[in-house]
């Protein structure tokens, strides 16, 4: 059974449109989402007060991406010199195999996990489950989502889609304990329950917010302290680190950390930071005896040197979700993807090489709020527009490195040729390319439209005709939703009724000296 079949589908539907419709009609979800209101202006305030910090952070991220392979070699050798065991995972499958392999080799029975989007991306909990290893999420929101057999719906507050009553019900159902519908009571219940897990845990799994290439330091931010517990009590620590998390210098953390925490939660710094440099040392009584770092590619390197490289600057702060008018109405599950919101709409098709989330780039108003909110200046709206074009037709990402591969026979999976300069044996995920589709009525319509408007006379005649047609055939205020022939596209998009006279007509009249222009 696939993960998706087994998961509780909070927001059902075959595509984004159906799921969005469902989400908007769910009163409990809409009530829970109201709580996101307080984060609406967080990113804007940071941009206003700390513009210079933003610029410096954006530059640091680009510095790494400009020469990621060198930084990867650098961070690998630094980590190894500290006694860290470094693994290179080309695909999500490789990462799961490596991590489950570590757990088996170390005789691990219970894994305690700190919230990590990278481990969600590689579906690590399911891999542990299949291998008969118990894995417990320890971030409170992530724990709630795990026991409800759901996915996180927001990368910073994973259970934002649930009301307190729903959370209480899930915890009562899974534990059989009597828990009051009260924030304090739930918090204290979780402390007791999860503390026992920490003491039993043999292996801690975390992500990493940053890894410094010069010192090999892994930086983790949390507010609860579960990240510290996962890296203090278990005898093994595994950090799943997407390759773009590297920063050149340890001192760069002083720029990136406050920016991340201010944008993510409005805190000048999170309550806890852990900076981990190698495993437990001689004479120390706690900290992991062995520390593994799994550097995860999963189609990231293929984006380097393309316009999509920008997306790898992302620091996973969640600001673009918080400001997105679409996300704020439909919540994370409508995206049916690990990464949701504007960054998810870009990243999901990219990381799956076009096989997942093909309809997501279209699920945007292109209002640009995400671009404005992004603390590292990723042009999210531009990338969405580009993806819409690139995902059309054969679905090959034309912007991606090495140009689009020819469509394989019958649209079956094929393997890419290994890239040059790749520092470890390469086995990329198969690229699934659907067979080309015949041109749709809409694409023909757009082609004709483009042709007609290429000439001033075509523009003049067609707009005059359209004005007359619209005003006589569909004279209501919401004409575009009832105009015959185009409602498939305009059902959810309203347009004003055209003015009786065009601007061009009025301008010409004015130039002629007509006083009633």
């Amino acid at each position: 059974m696939s993960v998706r079949e087994r998961d509780n589908i909070v927001t059902p539907g075959r595509n984004f449109e159906e799921r969005a419709r469902h989400a908007v009609a769910d009163p409990e979800l809409q009530r829970a989402l109201g709580n996101l209101g307080q984060r609406l202006f967080t990113a804007r305030d940071v941009a206003h007060d700390h513009g210079d910090l933003k610029d410096r952070a954006a530059a640091i991220r680009r510095e790494v991406l400009a020469d990621l392979d060198s930084w990867l070699r650098r961070v690998t050798s630094t980590l190894e010199s500290l006694g860290v065991i470094v693994h290179h995972a080309a695909t999500a499958h490789d990462a799961r195999r490596i991590i489950v392999g570590i757990a088996h080799a170390e005789g691990v029975r219970t894994v305690v996990k700190s919230k990590s989007m990278a481990s969600e991306e590689i579906e690590l909990n399911q891999a542990f489950e299949s291998a008969g290893i118990r894995s417990v999420e320890t971030d409170l929101g992530e724990y709630i989502v795990q026991v409800a057999a759901e996915r996180p719906s927001h990368m910073i507050t994973p259970a934002i889609h649930k009301t307190l009553g729903q959370i209480r019900d899930v915890l009562v159902k899974v534990s059989g304990d009597a828990i009051e519908e009260d924030r304090e009571a739930i918090t204290q219940w979780a402390r007791k329950r999860l503390r026992d897990e920490f003491i039993a845990g043999d292996m801690g799994v975390t992500g990493a917010n940053f890894v410094a290439a010069d010192t090999g330091t892994i930086v983790l931010v949390t507010n609860e302290g579960n990240g510290r517990l996962c890296t203090t009590l278990p005898r093994v620590h595994v950090a799943v680190v997407p390759i773009e998390k590297i920063v050149p210098r340890f001192t760069d953390v002083a720029t990136l950390l406050p920016l991340l925490t201010m944008t993510a939660t409005g805190q000048r710094l999170t309550n806890y930071l852990s900076m981990i440099t190698g495993p437990r040392r001689e004479g120390e009584v706690d900290g992991p005896e062995s520390l593994h770092v799994v550097l995860l590619d999963n189609n990231r390197r293929a984006l380097l040197g393309t316009p999509y490289e920008e997306m790898l600057a992302c620091i996973r702060c969640g600001a673009c979700l918080n400001v997105c008018p679409v996300y704020r109405r439909v919540s994370g599950h409508a995206y049916d993807a690990v990464y949701s919101g504007p960054m998810g709409k870009v990243l999901t098709p990219l990381l799956s090489r076009g096989s997942n989330g093909r309809d997501l780039p279209g699920a945007s108003t292109l209002c640009g709020a995400c671009t404005e909110a992004c603390p590292v200046e990723i042009p999210l709206a531009d990338l969405l527009v580009r993806l819409r074009a690139d995902l059309r037709g054969t679905g090959a990402l034309v912007g991606a490195r090495g140009s689009a591969p020819p469509p394989p026979e019958g649209g079956v999976a094929r393997r890419e040729r290994p890239g040059e300069g790749y520092p470890w044996p390469l086995a990329r995920a198969p690229v699934v390319t659907p067979p080309p589709r015949p041109p749709s009525v809409r694409s023909i319509m757009f082609a004709v439209w483009a042709r007609v408007w290429a000439a001033p006379s075509g523009y003049r005649i067609s707009t005059a005709a359209a004005r007359v047609a619209v005003r006589t055939l569909a004279p209501g205020r919401r004409w575009s939703t009832t105009m015959p022939g185009v409602t498939g596209w305009t059902r959810s998009r309203d347009l004003p009724l055209p003015a009786p006279r065009s601007f061009r007509d009025r301008w010409a009249a004015r130039e002629r000296g007509d006083e009633r222009w």
């Binding site: 829970a32 709580n35 996101l36 307080q38 984060r39 320890t138 971030d139 409170l140 929101g141 507050t157 259970a159 009301t163 307190l164 959370i167 924030r183 304090e184 739930i186 918090t187 979780a190 402390r191 503390r195 920490f198 003491i199 010192t215 507010n223 609860e224 302290g225 579960n226 510290r228 517990l229 890296t231 203090t232 009590l233 340890f250 001192t251 002083a254 720029t255 950390l257 406050p258 939660t265 000048r268 710094l269 999170t270 309550n271 806890y272 930071l273 852990s274 900076m275 981990i276 440099t277 190698g278 495993p279 437990r280 040392r281 001689e282 004479g283 120390e284 009584v285 706690d286 900290g287």
Partner: protein, 197 residues
């Protein structure tokens, strides 16, 4: 008589915003008395975890102070430290550096200074030397960058917290439920003035 540096006042304010208990700056002697008092009251008869090679704990002679009060002490070199630590009521540490702007205390792991002392017990008491207060995070990072980094630097702003329940903050979810900070100046002339005011 000298007033405490502005960064110390800033640190006090930030720590209070972060929901820490704050005392000082005090003289070494007054600080030791205060730490012992808070530790005994937070412990309520339960064990108090103390590091064995912590500069601040040593400077305030907390082992003998707390011992004299009949405290039940737990040290990292005790053979059953691992089993007993989850039952400890209080952990006392000092910090290597404190960031005034954010109210953040950075603790360094090492032999005799386990990471868990400031993490596992329900109450954490942290001793801050005035000389270790810096203004910004960047200053603290620069200090660490100047030397070899320890296996772990644990930065703490205050009691453990979460906003996973409808975005309202609750405290004590995983780490300590209370954090008490006692600021002291090794140079007693400095802080005697403050006390006299």
């Amino acid at each position: 008589m000298t007033a405490p540096p502005p960064s110390v006042e800033r640190l006090r304010e930030a720590l209070i915003v972060n929901r820490c208990g704050v005392d000082g700056p005090l003289t070494s002697d007054a600080a030791a008395t205060r730490v012992a008092e808070v530790a005994m009251s937070r412990a309520a008869g339960g064990p108090i975890a103390l590091p064995t090679r912590d500069a601040g704990v040593a400077a305030l002679e907390l082992d003998s102070r707390l011992g004299a009060l009949g405290a039940h002490l737990l040290h990292p070199d005790d053979p059953d430290w691992h089993d007993r630590l989850p039952g400890a009521a209080v952990g006392v540490t000092s910090c290597a550096v404190a960031v005034a702007a954010t109210g953040t205390l950075a603790m360094v792991a090492g032999p005799g200074c386990p990471r868990a002392t400031s993490l596992v017990p329900a109450a954490h008491i942290c001793i801050v030397r005035v000389a270790d207060v810096v203004d910004e995070l960047a200053d603290a990072i620069a200090r660490f960058a100047a030397g070899p980094l320890p296996s772990a630097v644990s930065w703490v702003g205050g009691p453990s917290r979460t906003s996973d329940l409808e975005m309202r903050t609750t405290f004590g979810v995983h780490g300590p439920k209370t954090v008490d900070v006692v600021i002291f100046s090794a140079d007693s002339a400095d802080s005697a003035g403050t006390l006299a005011e």
